[in-house]
Structure formats: structure tokens, C-alpha cells
């Protein structure tokens, strides 16, 4: 508890500082704050430097500060989006000072949320990027993270598929872990957001309405994230939602209506091609299986999908209390027939300010309800494989969906070695899910009456959810013929709560040109998930598998102390340090505490005399930081893995002795020494701005080193109840660089033209994986579909995690791969597993984002493009389906094949040929939009209107011939296609 002690001592010192302040009062200053065109700026803040005296301008831009002591003071006027202006004023009985502010494209004075507090952008010491609603991706965005896709250097957001409500994989700087999670921590309005999936619901984040979001702030380096300690190794995303304003209610209504279409289908043979192929190559019995239909199974299972997304919000102030209330309704069809998501969301925020603003209260309450119908995703693979010469429907006992069968009459069963009818798979499975989620918190920030610079901040909140659903298949469906239908249910609830309390003290001592800002706090987090177990039934209501227990609770807690100290000298040199101590219930008592320090130094070079008056350079800042962060979460890291425990068998795992089937308990493998993995990050960054911020950007280089990686490794057999264990072993390095540049090319009364470009380089490498260093050691990190247990990806020393491990294909002179002929890499004259080699990985080396917006009067056209370079994909569709024996099977059926068969002519599967590893570098246009901002509909009224048209997923340029080059796992198999979406939107304000 040393850390807590230190923090306590620090707080005492701060209190002593505060007591030194003395005041005297006589004169006043009044004046006006205007914008660059001479219009008054209401709500601009004006304060006397070196004091706590401040005010804000009224609707006419006027302010008045009374009760000042006579003498010379520096008055500072600031407004969001404008450069701060300072003026020396001599205080008299009625002194005046007027300000005319000029816009600041770089928004250096913008206040940015950071962990447990806020900071002005210009004073940030960590690598932090903020994207606000104005810069979000447009169109039919139904899940929040897609708002910032391509917008931030080093942040990769890949939607997992085209399914409605599906989540995305978010990687900040590539991820620093192997078997632990690589997901960043997401904090919404101060509530740490559970990334757990809820059964029968779309992804967790999609339960938040994107329309309620004001800003995304991404914390990338350890100086920014370390205050989140054990949850911060993979970066932190802070989301703030929109808040109420001042004055009369402003009503905003928006509606977006879109059509989603399939851009590309998996390239398989047509019915005529299959007929020709079978007639040319098949045996008589195989030819006899050919049908006369021409069915495009992919056309049969995909549809044009309509989405409507409607949002209403009211924001204003009631009896001085700012509020915002919003409601949203989304009704989205999926590309796969019957797929549907309906979502209702609501949010309320109240921001009362009491005791002359000494107590600021923020109440946030968000809720969502979803109803989903999930189409059977198995149809995607079946549609690729199913024989196109067969019809969709045929008279039979399987609901008249054509099926491959064996046997006759009553003995007829669906052929177990053939795919099932794709349309039957979908239409004969009813999978409905319902989910409810509520996230809420209350934040109290109290600035002490006797010492306004000392704040006490209490934040308590919760994140609760419930998901439930049922899947039923009728008795006659071929997909459940063995059990004559099926019925299963699921219910899961999550109940997370937390409370945080911190004290913050900030004080400027003009005499030594120093500013001190200290924060110390405490946090407590309790997360529990309850899974309920139900009996599975056959379609006729016979119990199939009964659970042993009605439910189980997975729970973990985290107890934390944290602190931050920032010292600013002369507004130029900033030294900051943070410390967090976390204790997690996931580890044994002696390993429970983890300590995560960070330090940063920032030099605002722009503040130096030689640049102060530069007309060209408007900002220049150097950041250096170091920090340690932890990780303990992920699918492989259970809540109780350090405990020696016995678990009950399931009812399908009983054993018969005599005439009795017994249940029993089994000891599970465990690691009593389990602890955090720790990532050390070094970061150097440069922020710059030119021409009053018309051109600005930043440059970062970083080096991350993770030790005690939580990785699944082979342990000496006989030392535990399992032969593999997730334990702390191994090291990994991540190196990278990021650059972003924003440029306002044209800015005048009629035209604005902005550009944003970002680029990132990232390279991960495993440096150690075993307790006993061994060069040949590798751990399976991904299997392909097809041959059972055929491992494709491995984690191995000196390789990118998840690198492909394959044979080197030999080609003939025309570039055709020679079946089964591989290079004898070790030269021993035989082709064995020793000839496999590491070849490429799914990781891109470079990622790029580009966006631009061109505004002419009321018209705006904007686009977002993204590119990845150096990412490779394994074409599992071709390797599994693009072979002769897939069409001409030995199991009494015909199938379709990937058209790659015509390239290779392979007769049998060659799963581990590097032929299937394809360069999947790509350039995508995510978004192209056109908007017409009508503005006020009439001179006198307040009604405003904006109309927009959008196209998402406009085009993809890639050498990769498969469905989509952008895949998280790097293995292309049965991807739910990402649609191209055309959206028309209308936004009305009152």
C-alpha cells in the first residue's frame, strides 16, 4: 500500500499550497468579445490570469468582471475553436477591454477528456487524438466505432462482417498481447464499458446509439493510458456523449434511410460450368447426379436490405439545468434473408450546476432494447458449395427444400457428408434474440468553497444488460434430421458497477511561472456475468441434453489507487507522471497488486522566444513519454484460473459403471502464479501547426515491449491437469510510427476545402515464448477450415504473431502451381514438415486514412478512403472448395467449387501451400457523401434543415480476388459480405 500512502502525502502538500492564497478587491473590467467577422460571441469565457476570477459573455458578447483589485492584470478571452487572446488591462473603477478572436483550425485550446480529468489540447503530454462529431464518418452508421474508421493514425477498426449490429475489431497500435485480449478499454462518459458479448444480441458497442456521441478520444501511449493501469495495454477509447445546452430547447430530428446491396459474391462455378466439368471428368454415376436447374445459391440467400434509422433529441436548459433527451429507432435488415435488427435507444443527460458552479453534477442514463432475428450463418458456406444444377425446392419430407439424401423411404436420411440446402438452412431455423442494456452514471465534481482549485470528484455508475433468445428448428428440417428438430434457449445477464473518487488540485504560481496539477483517486469495479443453462429439446419436445446447474456466475473485481501530477513551467516545459496500483480478483493474493507508472516530458517549443512571433509556425511541441501498462483480460483468461478447483461434468460427459451413469467433478489445470502481463511503452511525438493552424499534424514513434505475456503454451506434461496452460511467459516487441496531417486548402466566405491524411507503420514481433528458450518452438494460433486440426497460423519467436506456416509452392513455367510439389527448403531430399516456413502474416505493415470535405456555400461533398499495405490473406474458400474432389466427391453427391479450380486444377486439397496466401493490400473508399445544408427555412423561424446523400463501401482496389481483403484473422472463409449502402438523410432542427 505504499502507493496509496504516497498519494495521501501528496494531497496534504496540495492543501497547504492552497491555504497560501490571499485576496483583495476594488475595481472592475467590462467589454465585448467578437468573432472574426465582428459578430458577438456569446458564451466566450474571460478570466483574469493568475486568479480564479472568470466569467462568460452574454448573448450579446458582453462581459463584466467586478471586484478586482486595482493594478495591472492580464485578461484572457477564449472560445472553443478560436485562438485564445490575452490583453494587459489596467484595472480601474470602470476599465474596458474588447476582444476580437480569430478561429483556430488546430483547436489548441479545446478541452480534451483524459483519464480522470480534462486537459487543454495544447498542454497534452501523451499521444492523444480526438475526433468530434463534425468529423465522423457519415451514412448508415449503426455502431459507434465505425464513426472513426480511418480517422486516426494507428487505430485500425475492422468491422467483423456485414451482419446488422455486428461489432468491429479495434486495434490500437496493433495490439500488444497474444492470448490476452488485444481490445482497447472503452470508457463512455466515465463508465468503463464491458466488452463482453451478450447472448442473443448484436455486439456490445452497437447498443450505444452513434447519434448520441459527441467525441471519441483515443489514448495511445502509456503516458496517456497508464492511469488506467491493468486495462490499458491496448489503448483506451474515451467516448463522450452529447450534453444539454443553455436556453430554449433545441429539437433535432434526423432520419437516415438506406438500401444495402451485395457488392461481390464468392466466385464459384456456374451451373453450366459444373455440368460441363462433371460431364468431362466425372464417372457415369457422378454424371447421373447432375440436375437440370441453374441455381445461383448466393442470389437465393442474399437480398437488398432496407434500413431506417430515426433519431430525435431535445436539448436545452430547464430552470438552469442543462438537459438533453434523445430517442432513436433503428430497423435494419441484413443482406442474408430474414436477418433483422430492431433497436430502440434512449438517453437522458442532466448537468445541474449548484452553489455558484461549485458543485457540478452530470447524470447520464442510456438504455437500449434490441430485437434480432439471426439468419443461419451456415448458409453462407453451403451456398458456395451447394450444387448449382439442383433446384431450390423439390417435393420431399424436408419441407420441400431440395436435399442430398441417402437410403430410401422411411430409411431416407440427409446425406451427412453433403452441405444442406442453404435456403432451407435459413428458412427452417428461427433464431430470435432480445437484449436490453442500460448504462448510467452520476458524476459529482465539487470545487471546495474555501479552496476552489481543489476539486473532489465522485463518479458512480453501472452497466447492466440482459440477453435472451431461443432457436427452434422444426421436426422436418434436414439440418436437424437426427433429432427431428430442435429447440434451445439462452439467457445471460451482466451486472457491472463501479465507483471512483478523486481529488484534483490545480494551482498556478505566477511568481515562479509554475502550474501544479495533481490528482489522486480510488476506484472499485465489480463485474459479474450470469449465464443461465437450459435443457435442449428435440423438435418433438423430448429433452436432449439437460444442464447440471441452472446458472453460473462469472465475477471479477478490481480495486485501484491512482494519481497524476503535472508540473508546467513557463507554459513551455511540462512534466507529468502517473501511477496506478490495481488489485484484481483474477490473481492469487501474492500476485494481486500491479503497479503501473508513467512519465512524460513535453516541450512547447512554440512558447520559446525564437518562435513566439513566427508568422509561419503556429504550434510546435515535442513529447517524450515512458510508461507501463497491464493486461489481464481476454477470452482465455478466466476469472478463477489461479485457483485449484474441480468442475462438474456435463450431462453429456457422464460415465457408466454397472447400470448407473455417474456424474463427477474433474480437477482443472491452474496456474497459482498467474499475474499481469506488462507492456512498457516509449513514445516520442511532435505536434506542429503552420499558418495559424491551417496546416497541422503530429508525428509519433513508439516502441512497446510486453513481458510476462499471457500466452497459451505447452507445459511439461505431468506437471498439471492439462498439457497446455495460459501462463505468463514470453516477450513481444511492437515498433511503429504514426503521422497525421490536416490541411485547410481553401477557406473563404463561400468555399472551404479540408484535407486529413494519416499514416501508420506497425510491426509486431514475438521475442520469446518458452520457459526454456528453444528456437523451434511455436504455438498454434489459428486453424483453417477443412482438414481437421490443420494448423495454419503460429506464434513463434522472431515472427509476427499469427504468421502463416506453410510449404513453398513450386510452379510450372506458366505460373501454374504444381500439385503437391513443394520446395525442399532444408535440402534433405524429402518433403516433410521440416520444409514448412513462415511466410507473411495478416498484419498490415502500413495503414493509411484519407478524408476530405469540400464545402461550397450550402453544399458539402466529403469522402473517406483507407488503405492497408502488406497484409496477407489465406484464401480458405479456394483451398477448401477449389479442388476437383470437391465437385466430384466419393460420397454420392456433387458440389460446387471455387473458380480457383480453373486456375490450379488441383485434384486434392493442398491446404498448406503458400499459393493460397495472397497479398491483400487494398485501397477502399469507405464513404462518399453529398450534403445540402439549407439552414434556416425562413428568416424569422428557427427551423433548420440539412439533406444528405451517402454511399458507403464505394469501391475496393485490391489484387486479392476473394470477397473482401480486409479480414481480422487473415483467414478468408464464409465472410458475411460487407454491403454497399446508399443512404438518404434528412436532419431537421427547431
Amino acid at each position: 500500500m505504499k502507493v496509496f500512502y504516497l498519494l495521501k502525502q501528496g494531497l496534504l502538500v496540495l492543501l497547504v499550497f492552497a491555504a497560501l492564497i490571499v485576496k483583495a478587491q476594488t475595481g472592475s473590467i467590462s467589454g465585448k468579445v467578437l468573432d472574426e467577422t465582428g459578430q458577438p460571441l456569446p458564451g466566450a469565457s474571460v478570466f483574469v490570469k493568475g486568479t480564479t476570477r472568470s466569467t462568460s459573455t452574454d448573448v450579446n458578447g458582453n462581459f463584466k468582471l467586478a471586484g478586482l483589485s486595482n493594478g495591472s492584470v492580464t485578461l484572457s478571452a477564449s472560445f472553443i475553436g478560436y485562438q485564445t487572446l490575452e490583453k494587459a488591462v489596467s484595472v480601474t473603477a470602470n476599465a474596458t477591454a474588447n476582444f476580437q478572436l480569430v478561429p483556430d483550425a488546430q483547436k489548441l485550446n479545446e478541452v480534451v477528456v483524459i483519464g480522470y480529468g480534462t486537459a487543454e489540447k495544447k498542454n497534452l503530454t501523451g499521444s492523444i487524438t480526438t475526433v468530434s462529431s463534425k468529423d465522423f464518418q457519415k451514412g448508415a452508421i449503426t455502431t459507434p466505432e465505425q464513426l472513426i474508421q480511418g480517422k486516426i493514425a494507428g487505430v485500425n477498426i475492422i468491422s467483423n462482417s456485414g451482419q446488422p449490429g455486428v461489432g468491429s475489431t479495434i486495434r490500437i497500435r496493433g495490439g500488444a498481447s497474444l492470448n490476452a485480449s488485444n481490445d482497447p478499454l472503452v470508457v463512455i462518459d466515465g463508465v468503463p464499458f464491458s466488452g463482453n458479448t451478450i447472448d442473443n444480441a448484436p455486439s456490445p458497442l452497437s447498443l450505444i446509439n452513434p447519434n448520441d456521441i459527441e467525441t471519441f478520444t483515443v489514448l495511445k501511449d502509456a503516458n496517456a493510458t497508464a492511469i488506467y493501469g491493468s486495462r490499458a495495454s491496448n489503448g483506451v477509447i474515451l467516448i463522450t456523449t452529447k450534453k444539454g445546452g443553455t436556453g430554449a430547447p433545441v429539437i433535432n430530428f434526423s432520419t437516415n434511410n438506406s438500401i444495402a446491396t451485395v457488392i461481390k459474391k464468392v466466385d464459384v462455378l456456374s451451373a453450366d460450368q459444373v455440368r460441363a466439368y462433371v460431364n468431362a471428368n466425372g464417372s457415369a454415376s457422378q454424371k447421373a447426379l447432375l440436375g437440370t436447374a441453374s441455381t445461383d445459391w448466393q442470389d437465393e440467400i442474399y437480398q437488398r436490405a432496407f434500413t431506417t434509422d430515426n433519431n430525435l433529441s431535445i436539448a436545452g436548459s430547464f430552470k438552469g439545468v442543462p438537459y438533453r433527451v434523445s430517442a432513436g429507432y433503428l430497423d435494419q435488415d441484413g443482406l442474408l434473408i430474414t436477418d433483422k435488427l430492431k433497436r430502440g435507444t434512449g438517453s437522458i443527460t442532466l448537468s445541474p450546476r449548484l452553489f455558484k458552479d461549485h458543485l457540478k453534477i452530470d447524470l447520464n442514463l442510456k438504455g437500449s432494447l434490441t430485437d434480432s432475428h439471426f439468419a443461419n450463418g451456415g448458409a453462407i458456406g453451403s451456398a458456395i458449395q451447394f450444387d448449382p444444377t439442383q433446384p431450390v425446392y423439390a417435393q420431399n419430407k424436408y419441407g420441400n427444400y431440395y436435399e442430398w439424401t441417402q437410403g430410401t423411404g422411411a430409411d431416407m436420411v440427409p446425406n451427412p457428408n453433403s452441405p444442406r440446402n442453404p435456403v432451407g438452412l435459413i428458412e427452417l431455423q428461427n433464431n430470435n434474440g432480445h437484449a436490453a442494456r442500460s448504462v448510467g452514471n452520476a458524476k459529482f465534481d465539487y470545487s471546495f468553497h474555501f479552496l476552489p482549485e481543489l476539486h473532489a470528484n465522485l463518479n458512480v455508475g453501472y452497466d447492466v444488460s440482459k440477453g435472451y433468445g431461443a432457436i427452434s428448428v422444426p421436426t422436418f428440417a434436414a439440418q436437424a434430421a437426427s433429432t427431428k428438430g430442435s429447440f434451445s434457449r439462452a439467457l445471460k445477464t451482466e451486472n457491472d458497477k463501479f465507483s471512483e473518487f478523486y481529488l484534483n488540485y490545480a494551482h498556478t504560481v505566477e511568481s515562479i511561472r509554475s502550474r501544479f496539477d495533481a490528482t489522486a483517486g480510488y476506484g472499485y469495479y465489480d463485474n459479474a456475468t450470469t449465464s443461465f443453462n437450459f435443457t435442449n429439446y428435440t423438435g418433438t419436445g423430448v429433452a436432449l441434453v439437460t444442464p447440471v446447474f441452472p446458472f453460473s456466475v462469472e465475477r471479477n473485481k478490481l480495486l485501484s489507487y491512482y494519481g497524476r501530477f503535472v508540473y508546467t513551467l513557463a507554459d513551455k516545459y511540462i512534466l507529468s507522471g502517473t501511477m496506478r496500483a490495481d488489485a484484481s480478483s483474477k490473481f492469487a493474493e501474492n500476485n494481486r497488486w500491479g503497479y503501473f507508472p508513467s512519465a512524460g516530458f513535453t516541450w512547447r517549443i512554440i512558447g520559446e522566444n525564437f518562435l513566439k512571433d513566427s508568422k509561419v509556425i503556429s504550434d510546435l511541441k515535442l513529447r517524450l513519454s515512458y510508461g507501463e501498462t497491464g493486461n489481464k483480460d481476454g477470452a482465455d483468461i478466466g476469472n478463477y484460473n489461479y485457483l485449484s478447483k474441480y468442475y462438474a461434468n456435463s450431462n453429456t460427459g457422464q460415465y457408466q459403471i454397472g447400470n448407473t451413469f455417474y456424474n463427477y467433478y474433474a480437477p482443472a489445470g491452474y496456474d497459482p502464479d498467474l499475474r499481469w502481463e506488462t507492456t512498457t511503452t516509449y513514445n516520442a511525438g511532435l505536434d506542429f501547426g503552420f499558418l495559424k493552424g491551417r496546416l497541422y499534424g503530429s508525428l509519433d514513434v513508439y516502441y512497446k515491449k510486453t513481458k510476462d505475456l499471457l500466452s497459451k503454451i505447452t507445459i511439461p506434461v505431468g506437471t498439471n491437469f492439462s498439457n497446455e496452460l495460459v501462463t505468463n511467459v514470453g516477450n513481444m516487441d511492437v515498433r511503429g510510427a504514426e503521422a497525421s496531417l490536416n490541411f485547410t486548402a481553401i477557406k473563404n466566405d463561400n468555399i472551404t476545402w479540408d484535407f486529413g491524411v494519416n499514416a501508420a507503420y506497425n510491426k509486431r514481433k514475438v521475442t520469446n515464448l518458452t520457459l526454456n528458450p528453444s528456437s523451434g518452438f511455436k504455438v498454434d494460433a489459428g486453424d483453417i477450415t477443412g482438414g481437421t486440426g490443420v494448423h495454419l497460423k503460429y506464434n513463434a519467436v522472431n515472427q509476427v504473431p499469427g504468421s502463416y506456416f506453410v510449404y513453398k509452392q513450386v510452379y510450372d513455367g506458366s505460373g501454374k502451381p504444381l500439385e503437391g510439389i513443394y520446395a525442399d527448403l532444408n535440402g534433405d531430399g524429402a518433403i516433410t514438415t521440416d520444409d514448412q516456413y513462415f511466410y507473411k502474416s495478416p498484419d498490415p505493415n502500413f495503414t493509411f486514412g484519407f478524408n476530405t470535405a469540400f464545402t461550397y456555400k450550402k453544399w458539402t461533398i466529403n469522402t473517406v478512403l483507407r488503405a492497408n499495405l502488406g497484409n496477407y490473406v489465406y484464401d480458405n474458400v479456394a483451398s477448401n472448395f477449389g479442388i476437383k474432389s470437391n465437385i466430384l466427391t466419393s460420397v454420392g453427391v456433387l458440389n460446387n467449387a471455387s473458380s480457383d479450380l480453373l486456375n490450379t486444377g488441383f485434384t486434392a486439397t493442398q491446404y498448406l501451400s503458400d499459393y493460397y496466401i495472397k497479398n491483400a493490400s487494398f485501397l477502399k473508399m469507405d464513404n462518399l457523401g453529398l450534403a445540402y445544408n439549407i439552414g434556416k427555412l425562413s428568416k424569422s423561424g428557427n427551423t433548420t434543415m440539412r439533406i444528405s446523400a451517402n454511399c458507403q463501401n464505394v469501391f475496393v482496389v485490391s489484387k486479392y480476388k476473394g470477397l473482401d481483403p480486409e479480414l481480422v484473422s487473415g483467414i478468408d472463409y464464409n465472410l458475411y459480405p460487407r454491403p454497399r449502402t446508399y443512404t438518404l438523410g434528412l436532419n431537421v432542427g427547431f
Binding site: I361, K645, S650, V717, S722, N723, V790, S890
Partner: protein, 534 residues
């Protein structure tokens, strides 16, 4: 206003104090999992945990078919019998598999690498069983029983459970002794942790298994008096007989006399041959069966996995009508049929005909006996002796129409007859050739249904027993051990198609009589030294 502020502050403080947790609050326990002291609190608990040890032979995991206790291996591959069978049959003249799954072709071709996932799976499965038994023994010491208040008849029962647990461990050590020779060695004195096990040498392991089997004999139930599925003295003797028959291979010193002694003990107990050979391999083989000595029990509803007899049946069954005309329904697996395993032509050649007309043990199907290409699905006959159908033709309940309820005999009387005979033929004392002839002809009369298949005394050469074992025990997990004992598993004195990776068969180096210590464990455990030759 002041008041409301106070209220807020008070509630804030309250909230904090409610939440501000003590260190102990971080000690969370899972909902349904138990600690060992609760699991073993009652006599019933000891019985349950004994069942867990037996269940480990039958299942891939306590959680059913989709999970695996053996990490790194597909759950469908991970049960004991499938791995054991693969190691004992696929590398011999008796079987071949046309799947391309990593590791299968190299077993088919006798060219397995030190990374072979099936061999590693067997090794890991066997040692995991040993680790489980060790835990059971630690939990059932007299001290532990006393502490937990288990006394009297309950304690006596636990004594027997312990003996059975040690039998199950000895069996797995026999598997390791036979297949890997020099495995890591752990007993109940090795606690769970990260201390790397030491390697034991083959001869020492033989001595250990022998001493264990002898030590537990008095505590085991008399032959055929224990519950179905539990080991008794008969199983103990049967394993000793098998161990001694192979002692020459394991230690360099023959122990044929001891093989005769212990096989005679089994034969002298009240076992008898089942009337019809084929009924041994039907789904109701747990009923009225006086031949099986110890079985692994499978059930298509209550204990499911994709290995075991589910594998033996499904991997053999082809669904297409043009491939041997086999329809999976006829084998009791209407939704199964994985079309993989067949036999090489050597096995049917041991029989007078492949149709089971004369010697009814030869149960084969298919259009072509010869293996010209391993991946040609119709090359090689299918072995159809295992069926998930009862002797009355009924198909037992199965969760998915694929899982089998057929039990598998680890030991049965017929093997003991043949051990007795071979040990006599190899010069062991304590038995006679005349007695052996009676045993052999008992098997052959059952096989033929009459005495036409009887052989004469002169026919009982040592070599005869290898062929007769092939005819009687094929696909029951004996072949590799047998071929090694006869010096035919490696070398060139006996060839089969694709032995050594060549269609005609070629010599295989002698070091391959042992399987390699899996590379993964060699890396993980620096105490281990690889078997010579690998």
C-alpha cells in the same frame, strides 16, 4: 441548498464506504466449481471421483464432445481410444486412412515426425490420466480419510478404489512403455506445479508397472465380482500377462513363463467365450458378456465424443452407394459415415475368404482389397466388425445419430488364450502345447461354427500366433505391439503397401519400433532426452 449538498456528500461517502472493499473481497470463488475438500467430503465423492478416472478413458472431456482435455488437439481426436487405436493400427498392415489431416499420412506411411499430433495426443492423454490418478491417490491416503471422517466399510471401499486407480495408472504407463519407451515419470509424490518430471528408462518402467500390478492385486475385487466397467483381479492378471509376453521387447529379458502363469490365472477364472464372435462388437455387448475382462463404456446420449467406438464405426462407414454399398444406417450411425479407415490387403489375406463365409471373424466389405493409392477411397476393404446396432438389430439412442453406444474391450479372454499359446510356443514353461491347441481350436470353432477350422498341434508355430492374433484381434489395438514383438514392424522381413512410404512397401529403420518423445514436450521439459534415432 445546503441540505441537498449535505445529502449528496453523505450519500457519496456512504457509497464509497459501501464499495471500499477489504482485501478479502477480492477472493472470489466460482459458482458451481468446488474445492477438493468438498469434492472428497463423502464416501460417494470418492466413488464419483473414481468414476472420473474411468471416464477419462472414454471421453475427450468431462464437458462432452466439443471440448478436449488435451490441449493443442482437435476435440474430436482427443480421446484415449482413438489416439491409442491410431498409434497401434494405422502404422501397421491392418489399417490405413485416406484423410489428409496433418499427421495422418505420415502414420499411414510409417514416416511420422516428432511433431505428430496424434502421437503427442496419446502421450499427453496417457500422462494426463496418470496425473489424475496421482491426485486421487493424494486425496485418498489414510490420513486424508481420517481427516474427512471416512471410516469402516467406507474406508475399505476407498482402499479398493485406490487399487483400481493404480491399475488405471499402470495401464497408461504400459501404453507409454510400449509406445514411447522412456516417458516422463510422475507419481502421487509429485505435486502439481512447475517442477519438470524426470525421464524414466524403459526397463525401469517395466519393473514399476510390474510391481504396481502385483502390489494392488490383493486389494482388487476377485475376477468377475466387481461392477461392470471396473477393474478387478482379472484385468490385473490380463495386463500382467500382456506385459510379460512383451518383456523381451521391453527389457531384453524374456518372461514367457510368467506370461503363462498370469494368462492361466485369467483363463482359470470364470470367463468364457461369447458364442458368436460378431456379438462382441455390437451395441449391447455390455449384456451377457462373460468374455470381456475390462471395457471402456460408451453411450450415445450420456457420454459423447467423436472418438472411441464412434470413431471406429464412423471412420469406416462410407455413405456413397458406389463405395462398397455401405449405408450408414446399417451401422447404427444414420448421420455418420466419415469414409476414412480401411484395411490393407494383408489383413483379409489372413482369412480363407474376405466374406466371412468360413472364418466368420473376417468381416469386410468393399470392391477392392489392394491399396494402390492411400487417397483412393475404394482401395482397401472396409472393416465392418464394429456396429452401433444391438444383437436384436436395434439402434441405440444417440444425440446426433453419430455417437455410438458400443463398448470397447481393453482385455478379453481370447487374447489370453493366444498369450498362453504364444508363450508356450516361445518356450515358456508352466503350459503345454496340447492345452494351447485346445484354446486355439476353441477360438477357431467359434470362428467357423464347426470344427472345420481346427488346426493340428504341428501348426502351432510361433508365426502361427501372429496370424491368428491378426484374425482374432484385428482392429482392437494390438497390431503394432504384436509386429514389434515379431520383429516385423520395422525392417524388411515383412512388408505391406506403403510401409516406409513406398507403394510396394520398404524397409523401415529399427528405431521406429518406438515412437518419438513429442517435440513439444522435449522443448517444455529439459529433463527429457529423445529416443534414439529421432
Amino acid at each position: 441548498m445546503k441540505n441537498s449538498f449535505k445529502t449528496i456528500l453523505t450519500s457519496a461517502v456512504l457509497m464509497l464506504s459501501l464499495n471500499s472493499c477489504k482485501k478479502e473481497a477480492l477472493n472470489l470463488l466460482p459458482t458451481n466449481d468446488l474445492t477438493e475438500s468438498i469434492v472428497y467430503a463423502t464416501p460417494a465423492g470418492y466413488k464419483q471421483e473414481l468414476v472420473r478416472l474411468y471416464a477419462n478413458y472414454a471421453l475427450t472431456s468431462p464437458s462432452g464432445s466439443d471440448n478436449s482435455d488435451v490441449g493443442g488437439l482437435n476435440s474430436g481426436f482427443a480421446d484415449f481410444l482413438r489416439l491409442f487405436w491410431t498409434s497401434q493400427e494405422l502404422t501397421t498392415d491392418e489399417a490405413v486412412c485416406n484423410w489428409g489431416d496433418t499427421g495422418i499420412p505420415e502414420l499411414d506411411n510409417s514416416t511420422w515426425s516428432t511433431d505428430n499430433q496424434f502421437l503427442r495426443g496419446l502421450y499427453s492423454r496417457s500422462i494426463s490420466q496418470i496425473t489424475l490418478v496421482n491426485e486421487y491417490l493424494r486425496q485418498s491416503t489414510p490420513d486424508q480419510l481420517a481427516t474427512r471422517g471416512i471410516t469402516g466399510a467406507d474406508a475399505t471401499n476407498v482402499l479398493r478404489y485406490r487399487a483400481e486407480a493404480r491399475f488405471l495408472r499402470a495401464y497408461q504407463y504400459w501404453v507409454l512403455l510400449d509406445a514411447f519407451g522412456n516417458p516422463p515419470f510422475v507419481t502421487e509424490t509429485d505435486l502439481i506445479g512447475k517442477v519438470n518430471p524426470k525421464q524414466i528408462q524403459r526397463a525401469a518402467l517395466f519393473a514399476y508397472v510390474e510391481s504396481e500390478l502385483k502390489a494392488i492385486e490383493p486389494d482388487l475385487a476377485d475376477a468377475r465380482t466387481n461392477e461392470y466397467g471396473r477393474a478387478d483381479k482379472g484385468a490385473d492378471w490380463a495386463l500382467l500377462a500382456r506385459l510379460y509376453l512383451n518383456a523381451q521387447v521391453y527389457t531384453g529379458t524374456a518372461k514367457y513363463t510368467e506370461a503363462i502363469t498370469y494368462s492361466s490365472k485369467v483363463i482359470g477364472a470364470s470367463y468364457s467365450l461369447k458364442t458368436n464372435y460378431k456379438d462382441l462388437f455390437l451395441a449391447d455387448n455390455n449384456l451377457n458378456n462373460t468374455e470381456n475382462i475390462l471395457t471402456i463404456n460408451y453411450d450415445g446420449v450420456n457420454g459423447t465424443n467423436y472418438g472411441g467406438t464412434t470413431f471406429l464405426i464412423n471412420a469406416m462407414v462410407y455413405t456413397a452407394a458406389d463405395a462398397a454399398g455401405m449405408v450408414s444406417t446399417a451401422y447404427g450411425v444414420p448421420n455418420g459415415g466419415w469414409a476414412g479407415n480401411r484395411t490393407r490387403q494383408n489383413l483379409p489375406a489372413l482369412f480363407p475368404d474376405a466374406n466371412g463365409t468360413l472364418d466368420k471373424r473376417g468381416i469386410f466389405a468393399g470392391p477392392k482389397a489392394t491399396i494402390d493409392a492411400i487417397d483412393a477411397p475404394n482401395d482397401g476393404l472396409k472393416v465392418t466388425k464394429f456396429k452401433n446396432v444391438t444383437s436384436t438389430g436395434a439402434t441405440p439412442a444417440s444425440l446426433n445419430g453419430t455417437f455410438s453406444s458400443l463398448d470397447f474391450a481393453l482385455f478379453r479372454l481370447a487374447e489370453q488364450y493366444l498369450i498362453y499359446g504364444e508363450a508356450v510356443a516361445r518356450g515358456g514353461s508352466g503350459g503345454t502345447a496340447a492345452q494351447a491347441l485346445l484354446y486355439v481350436n476353441a477360438l477357431r470353432q467359434r470362428a467357423y461354427g464347426n470344427t472345420n477350422g481346427n488346426v493340428s498341434l504341428a501348426a502351432l508355430t510361433t508365426d502361427f500366433y501372429l496370424d491368428e492374433r491378426g484374425r482374432e484381434l484385428y482392429w482392437e489395438g494390438h497390431r503394432r505391439t504384436d509386429l514389434v514383438r515379431y520383429g516385423k514392424f520395422t525392417g524388411s522381413t515383412y512388408l505391406w503397401p506403403f510401409k516406409g512410404g513406398v507403394k510396394a512397401g520398404t524397409s523401415v529403420p529399427a528405431y521406429r519400433n518406438l515412437y518419438p518423445i513429442p517435440n513439444a514436450d522435449l522443448i517444455a521439459n529439459p529433463n527429457l532426452v529423445q529416443n534414439t534415432g529421432y
